[in-house]
Subunit: 132 residues, 2 copies
């Protein structure tokens, strides 16, 4: 259970670094051990820590990092921690897979994929006179 809490904490730290455009924090969150990979929406796959961190440097330079995440599902398979969650980035809803590797008792990111979710329409407004 403590594992899952620390895994969720690492996942929170990833989105905090993203939202705060904090490249040093983002860099520290990613594993120094290869393989490391990242599948940004609309990009070809990036493989290798240096390539992945270069992509984050360019993403965090832009101003639209108004990202939040919600509804995480987290579990552990041996040394791998898996988190799937929704992301809200600007007006878009995305869904993500984040993979962490347990290294010296720290969960370090080694893979991230995010992709668009078709927006779920909001529920219809209540009809006048109906009970809520």
């Amino acid at each position: 259970m403590k594992d899952i809490q620390t895994l969720l904490f690492a996942n929170d730290a990833f989105y905090a670094a993203f939202a705060q455009q904090d490249l040093p924090a983002m860099t520290a969150l990613w594993s120094s051990r290869e393989p490391v990979a990242c599948l940004h929406p609309g990009w070809p796959p990036l493989v290798g820590r240096e390539t992945v961190l270069r992509s984050w440097a360019s993403i965090l330079e832009v101003s639209n990092t108004d990202i939040t995440h919600e509804d995480p599902d987290a579990w552990r398979e041996g040394v791998v921690g898996i988190v799937i969650c929704n992301e809200r980035l600007g007006g878009s809803l995305l869904t993500a897979t984040n993979l962490f590797r347990l290294e010296e008792e720290r969960w370090l990111l080694f893979h991230h994929q995010a992709g668009a979710v078709a927006a779920v329409p909001p529920p219809p407004p209540p009809r006048p006179g109906t009970l809520q």
Copy 2:
């Protein structure tokens, strides 16, 4: 090394079941152990074997399963096998993360995410008179 070959074989089997609309084969490829999850492009996250297999039943019913995959990168982290690859589905280029769990010496799928890649434009035609 043998691990990686069997992992790539399991990944090939996934795309063969997809392309051949073979629901029994697809069902056998997915782990019977929870957690199981699947993030189809444009869909909200699906969690749980039954929900995930219901989604595959509806996907394999439609006719556009003209899928191929290419450029897989595969590696192992303990009991987890990770494959990232490109997918070509109809005219679309997607990229995917496939996660397999080693269960009684078989790699069984427990997570899949696919998402669109912006098409890379083909290289421009050579100018007349230039050397190739």
